[in-house]
Subunit: 285 residues, 2 copies
């Protein structure tokens, strides 16, 4: 059994991004909009900002009071859309209850939506011609690729259908860029273990600690664990790691698996955004 | 074995649409833009127009010379976007080689894109909150539902990943509205027959005559045939009908299966567009 080391692979990706940024004639810029006092959200935003700065991406966080009206968030996003120096805009989720997540995400200009959450970008992804692949699905495919797993023709079973992982990952998997055979399972799936046992690769993204157990997978399976659950002050994935690792040919750990890949993929998207924006400005001038 | 009668089911849907239109205080309007001399395209456009008129939808076709510049198509679409009397706009595919299909589709205002082909609408579909479900996937799910097939929890294997059938159908199937477990297979899938044999329901949408054979499916399977192939002046589906019908519990014929459902679904989308546009005008006034 091999452990797929997200720390090691993501540090290689970040080095590539560092080189890419160094070769550009300007510094890409990523702005996070944080409308929350939640310590977890603050931590996520800080981690992304630090990771951006480490690779040479200019980064800043705009704070909006959680009790401010929705319009304040929307007008802040509109200003960032118009700001030529900004390449990527992240609206940190979750948002307060009185703010529409959909309106907030749709307010971001699709060409600056480095999260890949805007419906227009989701549509491009479904069509197999993505502009920005959401960071976690992108990180999952990249880490498998870097570990030497050839996804073409393989049967990947995705457990979970969230808007930021399961659904976009499925679209990425069955695209011509990846060519995997993809199955999406979820809470209403009958005989779930029949599906996961038939898989070459299982991706667990349900948000339930140790949901995938050894009896649910076949000998030699590759397992990717997207879950990050806090249990008794410890981080636990969606996979019962010890028992599943005994049957798997390769598995991602939690922490140190998909998590760091997600941040690295976001940095890649930001550099890609800067490039695409430069090209479109060149061609329009 | 039961034959799932698309003619009969679609005529019920069209009756519903007729009643819906009769109850509206204005007549919905559908406009097709045809930039082709291809007799098949002309036939499709005429069929849609006739079906629209039959249910009381106002319908018209705008012809553009196949050798006209792309801009002429784009400005025609822009005029239709601005025309308050128009609820639905169809750009008939295929387009001439010198015209970008992507630009043409993206030119249609998403709120008039009753084909559901605009990336924004595809993204909403992937997120499980569709505005317009593309007509063929919508028709497939409707005809199964009307035939009494409960898709919730069932394993549906979609063979084919086209932009207008396979991909949007997968997104519709794994949405919370349908709750099926969906697998997307395609030309690069290994052991295709292993996947199709594991399915409760097989949807064939590959565009290859009689591609799905009896040895590829299990006893009692439900089979939906999306293919319409012309072989020796006869219409043949993607399923070897006679032999597969012997194993299936239910199967759609070609012709008379998915085809008529597709047209009926387009009419539903047009009425839905008229309703949504009336609501958004009421709320903005």
């Amino acid at each position: 059994m091999e452990v797929i080391d997200g720390e090691e692979i993501s540090s290689r990706v970040r080095e590539e991004v560092t080189d890419d940024v160094a070769r550009m004639d300007r510094t890409p810029k990523l702005v996070a909009v944080l409308m929350s006092d939640d310590p977890a959200s603050e931590t996520y935003v800080r981690m992304k900002r630090e990771a951006a700065e480490e690779v040479g991406i200019d980064s800043k966080t705009v704070h909006i009071e959680p009790d401010a009206p929705e319009d304040e968030l929307l007008s802040t996003v509109a200003e960032l859309n118009d700001d030529e120096t900004v390449d990527g805009i992240l609206v940190q989720l979750p948002l307060p209850d009185h703010v529409s997540k959909e309106r907030a995400i749709e307010a971001v200009a699709p060409e600056k939506d480095v999260d890949g959450f805007h419906p227009f970008n989701k549509g491009l992804l479904l069509e197999g011609r993505p502009r920005f692949v959401p960071a976690t699905p992108k990180g999952v495919v990249r880490m498998l690729h870097e570990h030497g797993v050839d996804l073409e023709g393989e049967h990947v079973v995705v457990v979970g259908r969230s808007d930021i992982v399961g659904k976009p990952l499925a679209a990425l998997l069955f695209s011509r860029d990846v060519n995997a055979t993809a199955t999406v399972c979820h809470s209403r799936t009958e005989d779930l273990e029949q599906h996961t046992r038939a898989a070459d690769i299982v991706v667990a993204a349900v948000g339930v600690p140790e949901f995938v157990t050894a009896d649910m997978v076949s000998e030699g399976v590759v397992v990717v664990d997207v879950g990050i659950n806090r249990v008794d002050d410890e981080l636990v994935g969606d996979v019962a790691y010890d028992e599943v690792a005994e049957k798997a040919s390769a598995i991602t750990p939690v922490p140190g698996g998909v998590g760091p890949m997600t941040v690295a993929s976001l940095l890649e998207n930001t550099v890609e955004s800067a490039r695409l924006r430069d090209v479109s400005q060149d061609s329009s001038s």
